[in-house]
């Protein structure tokens, strides 16, 4: 599979912010366990740990702006929208299950990774579909 130059930049940037996120999660967990910091410090740590998520969204936005291959961009945007649809469906169902006290509370921050997973899965499905319909000549 070949990647466009914009996709290469996206992968490099996304790896960097993901690495920062993992490091901050580890630091956050370690500090919380080792030092039992006060609420204000915990709040600041939670805020700082979430910043790479915003960075990831910025990286995604940059990619969409920089991707010059419109067919590839169209497929990505379509995958994102389907991923969003899956996220809204799942969270709506879970929300009503919580309302009925059938399931317990779930961490809200899981919404982003769930969207990423649904987006990635959808993009994979669309890529397979396109490969099957591909008629090289």
């Amino acid at each position: 599979m070949s990647y466009t130059p914009a996709a290469h930049r996206y992968r490099r940037r996304f790896s960097a912010v993901t690495g920062a996120y993992v490091a901050l999660i580890a630091a956050n967990t370690g500090v919380s366990i080792a030092f039992d910091p006060p609420q204000a410090v915990l709040g600041a740590m939670a805020f700082v740990t979430a910043l790479p998520i915003i960075g990831m969204l910025v990286v995604i936005g940059l990619y969409l702006r920089e991707e010059t291959d419109e067919f590839i961009r169209d497929r990505i945007v379509t995958s994102m929208l389907i991923g969003l649809g899956i996220l809204f469906s799942v969270t709506s169902i879970l929300g009503l299950l919580q309302f009925e006290r059938i399931v317990g509370s779930l961490p809200v921050f899981l919404a982003f990774p769930l969207w990423c997973a649904a987006w990635g899965l959808t993009q994979g499905v669309l890529a397979v579909r396109d490969r099957r319909l591909d008629r090289p000549a």
């Binding site: 010059t68 291959d69 067919f71 169209d74 396109d130 319909l133 090289p136 000549a137």
Partner: protein, 68 residues
């Protein structure tokens, strides 16, 4: 959208990759346009028309025009 891209490309003896390189898009894009799975934007349609030295409507079939 139906189009004559495949035959125009064949007339020149270009592969999909060669056409993609000339248009600065991926081969997947060329394939998707040729098979009618993707309608190019107006700027890309103009680039294609310029490359083949044809008018856009000579390459892309107007979907509003009844089939002959």
């Amino acid at each position: 959208m139906k189009n004559h891209l495949r035959s125009l490309r064949a007339e020149r003896g270009w592969s999909q990759q060669e056409l993609a390189d000339r248009l600065e898009v991926s081969r997947q894009s060329v394939n998707a346009i040729e098979t009618g799975r993707y309608d190019p934007s107006l700027p890309l349609a103009f680039r294609i028309a310029d490359l083949f030295e044809r008018a856009i409507e000579e390459i892309f079939v107007n979907p509003a025009t009844p089939a002959a």
